[in-house]
């Protein structure tokens, strides 16, 4: 266990340079156990995402408690040190999850551009075509709308496709199929057909990829009724969410981030999934609730270090489930801290943060001592120039300032 503590300490330079380029290969990063020594007591904080799905057939062990109350550091339930585990990068974790599900259920298949022989543009499907064949890991022509529709048709007739958008932005071309068919067919058919697809791909602002490759589609898709959206941020929850999404009977859109694929973490050897509808407690605190997801989690955690040094005690929650929101975890936090800051990479207008603000106001208005603050990316097409790109997304310094402001 001591190793883990040290590991986290060394993980500090995740986004050290102001230009916000981080190279997570530098450190053994255990974001799952991210925490910081609290002022009043020293606990190791453990997340809640080990929860077994309500599916009674699930084999994942119920190791952790749901409300992420701090547990003792050496409690056996709190660690995976019962088995040694293995280290994986995030893209490898996704691949492992996908491969395990493909082994488990022969109806699971993959389709997308360059997923087969090329192994995927970010290598998430590397080696799968060799192992499972060209039909199970299907290289499609460049026709997003049609192959997404094809995946939906295949799902209606019994298969469980995982559809990859080479970049999430390309799925804009599949909007017709995702909105009309993926989201609606279960309903308009009166429940006769299910569409157990997983639509996944890398999105988010990368490193000077240009406007069109830096899109955040979660804001566009969030209004579609009938779909679920999750965003992974660590190797642990990437694998867990991938598996849960594949096993789900609902259509799930899994948002990955271009800059997070090389995060490394030690994963348990045993089978596990992460609940699709739950949020992840990253760091409990008392003063303010910071809600975030995907890459901004790391900016928040970096800001958290600065804040702790300044004497603040932020509670950081990775909401993970972008649609629907986990109002329980979020609500409990709001009731405790009475102050909310949302940090997201989505655009300001109509983004996830906007919806989250509305949801919190609707449900927990009485518990708020201050208006909800939302830090989002600027409403601009992401510029190519590095200096400009840096200021379109939220930086740790802004987060620190916001917390100071909200806690006045």
């Amino acid at each position: 266990m001591a190793a883990i503590f040290q590991g986290v300490g060394a993980a500090a330079p995740l986004s050290s340079s102001p230009s916000n380029s981080f190279d997570s290969n530098k450190s053994v990063f255990s974001p799952r156990r991210s925490f910081s020594v609290r002022k009043r007591a020293s606990f190791a904080v453990v997340r809640s995402d080990g929860i077994v799905n309500l599916n009674p057939k699930g084999r994942s062990a119920q190791r952790l408690i749901s409300n992420a109350v701090a547990t003792k550091a050496d409690s056996p339930a709190a660690s995976s040190s019962s088995k040694p585990g293995h280290e994986l990068l995030l893209f490898e974790a996704l691949q492992e999850g996908l491969e395990e599900e493909m082994e488990r259920d022969p109806r699971v298949c993959v389709m997308g551009e360059d997923v087969g022989h090329y192994g995927g543009s970010y290598k998430v499907t590397k080696g799968l075509a060799k192992r499972f064949g060209d039909l199970r890991v299907l290289d499609t022509p460049i026709a997003e709308n049609s192959f997404t529709g094809m995946g939906i048709g295949a799902a209606m007739t019994g298969l469980r496709p995982v559809i990859e958008g080479m970049n999430m932005g390309f799925l804009l071309l599949a909007f017709n199929q995702i909105s009309n068919n993926c989201g609606m067919l279960h309903y308009t058919s009166g429940g006769q057909f299910t569409i157990p697809v997983v639509i996944r791909g890398p999105g988010g602002v990368g490193r000077q990829l240009g406007a069109e490759h830096s899109q955040r589609l979660e804001s566009y898709f969030q209004s579609i009724p009938g779909i679920q959206m999750v965003a992974c941020s660590t190797p642990y929850n990437a694998k867990g969410l991938m598996k849960a999404a594949i096993r789900s009977e609902n259509p799930v859109i899994l948002f990955e981030h271009v800059l997070l694929y090389n995060l490394k973490e030690r994963l348990p050897d045993e089978d596990y999934i992460c609940n699709l509808e739950e949020a992840e407690m990253v760091r409990p605190g008392e003063h303010v609730t910071i809600l975030t997801y995907s890459r901004m989690r790391y900016h928040v955690m970096q800001a958290a270090k600065t804040l702790v040094n300044k004497g603040y005690d932020p509670e950081v929650i990775d909401i993970r489930s972008l649609k629907p929101f986990d109002l329980h975890t979020i609500g409990n936090s709001v009731k405790k801290t009475h102050r909310v800051l949302i940090v997201e990479e989505c655009m300001r207008t109509g983004g996830i943060g906007a919806s989250l603000t509305a949801a919190i106001t609707e449900n927990f208005n009485d518990y708020l001592d201050a208006p909800i603050m939302c830090l989002s990316s600027q409403d601009v097409p992401t510029p190519y120039a590095g200096t400009l790109e840096e200021v379109t997304v939220v930086q740790p310094a802004q987060i620190v300032t916001a917390v100071e402001q909200i806690c006045q």
């Binding site: 939906i152 017709n176 009309n180 308009t188 009166g190």
Partner: protein, 432 residues
């Protein structure tokens, strides 16, 4: 086997147009007679090629079989195209389609059904000709003009009528409506409101069939999928993208174009650079066939071959059925643009009248037998209306059902329980 198409080689050419498929000058001849532009242009093409119907991927030649059946009939050979049982089955299906749609029109104007209702009158030969050859496990994907496809596939008239009335006993529990006919039992995969968006779904169903055979090793899985769509859809990207994928992977699918020359008020000739849709098949490596869609027997012959091809794993086929809708695009369409002469021309080629004539002339059935069928269908349709009328409307509690297959997708509420466990959900009054 390939007889239907080899016969095309021998049919006499009543029209001087006898081009090979390579020339693209057809259009110049088509437009040479501006006065008969809308009536004549797309129909009088009789192209033949010398190749057999069993084609390798590359050779995709174009065949047209419009004259095949006529030749056979005029020879008065002992071999008829259908048996008596088949003939009666086809007749009954044609009449069911017509009677049902006519009743829909009545019910619409009486305020029993609402919204956009698109009727199939005049096109019955395509639905009957193709779908009556399918097995139950084969799939059909249609567009918004889907009532008759669903009926031909076996969905009970009661279920379709109830769906149109928005009752909970409808095939989609009243949640789909006219444009979204689905049936899991009969493998009707929709019913789509936007044109073209059903074609990828059909391609996916065909993909599943191939997957079952090759990956899941269900060796006898030879399910075929039929995708029905119109001439307007053939200018849409999804059409071309799916032609490519289906041919690429040799999917067991038949693309059936119901070319009724009009997309609401847009004439096919005003929208399409090359109006001969069947020619687009070979561009993707599949055969392209043009058939007279007002003649159920001709359609059936072509369908047999195309479906057989798909079942044998030889890949997709593009079939263009020249057909016509007797009514407007939908019940809201005043139908003022179409030339009355054109309408009269096709009304004279009513598929029901044509089959009736065939059956009687070839002594396959008597007038009395056909009248019995018509009466039976009238009763079926009346019964369907009665059933739909008496069925209950959906209760409020139905609102939130079926949004998610797994209702956990509504998420976790502030109290820590899944929202779907909230009693307001089962009542349908929860706010989602």
């Amino acid at each position: 086997m390939a007889s239907a198409f080899s016969a095309a080689k021998f049919s006499a050419q009543p029209f001087p147009l006898n081009h090979t498929s390579t020339t693209s000058h057809d259009s110049s001849i088509v437009f040479a007679k501006p006065t008969s532009l809308f009536l004549g242009s797309t129909r009088k093409l009789r192209l033949t090629s010398s190749s057999k119907f069993n084609l390798s991927r590359r050779s995709g030649t174009v065949d047209a079989v419009s004259d095949v059946v006529k030749q056979k009939k005029s020879k008065s050979s002992p071999s008829l195209l259908i048996t008596k049982e088949e003939g009666l089955e086809l007749y009954e299906d044609l009449v069911l389609g017509r009677a049902f749609e006519d009743m829909c029109a009545q019910m619409y104007y009486r305020g029993k059904m609402f919204g956009f209702v698109h009727l199939y009158n005049g096109q019955e030969a395509v639905s009957t000709g193709f779908i009556k050859l399918l097995k139950q496990q084969d799939s059909v994907v249609s567009t918004y003009r889907d009532h008759v496809h669903a009926l031909s596939k076996g969905v009970p008239a009661r279920a379709v009528m109830s769906e149109l009335f928005g009752k909970t006993t409808g095939c989609c529990r009243g949640q789909g409506g006219s444009m979204h006919m689905f049936s899991r039992e009969h493998n009707v995969l929709g019913g789509f409101a936007f044109i073209g968006e059903g074609i990828p779904i059909a391609t996916g169903a065909a993909f599943t069939s191939k997957y079952k055979r090759e990956v899941l090793k269900e060796a006898d899985c030879d399910h075929v999928t039929l995708a029905f769509f119109g001439d307007g859809t053939c200018n849409n990207g999804q059409f071309f993208e799916c032609l490519n994928m289906a041919a690429l992977w040799k999917l067991p699918i038949v693309f059936v174009v119901e070319n009724n020359l009009w997309a609401i008020g847009m004439s096919h000739l005003r929208a399409t650079s090359d109006p001969q849709i069947y020619k687009k098949g070979p561009a993707f490596g599949m055969p392209g066939i043009h058939v007279d869609g007002m003649d159920v027997l001709k359609v059936r012959e072509v369908a047999k071959e195309a479906i057989g091809r798909a079942r044998r794993g030889e890949g997709p086929t593009l079939v263009e059925c020249e057909t016509y809708r007797f009514r407007g695009h939908s019940l809201a369409d005043p139908d003022e643009l179409r030339d009355p002469a054109e309408k009269a021309h096709y009304a004279a080629r009513d598929p029901i009248t044509a089959l009736k004539k065939y059956l009687i002339e070839n002594s396959l059935a008597s007038e009395a037998e056909l009248k019995t069928i018509e009466k039976k269908i009238d009763e079926v349709v009346e019964d369907a209306v009665e059933f739909a009328d008496e069925s209950p409307v959906p209760a409020r509690s139905q609102l939130l059902e079926n949004v998610f297959a797994d209702p956990k997708g509504f998420g976790i509420g502030p109290d820590g329980r899944y929202r779907c466990e909230d009693p307001k959900f089962t009542e349908g009054t929860a706010h989602v």
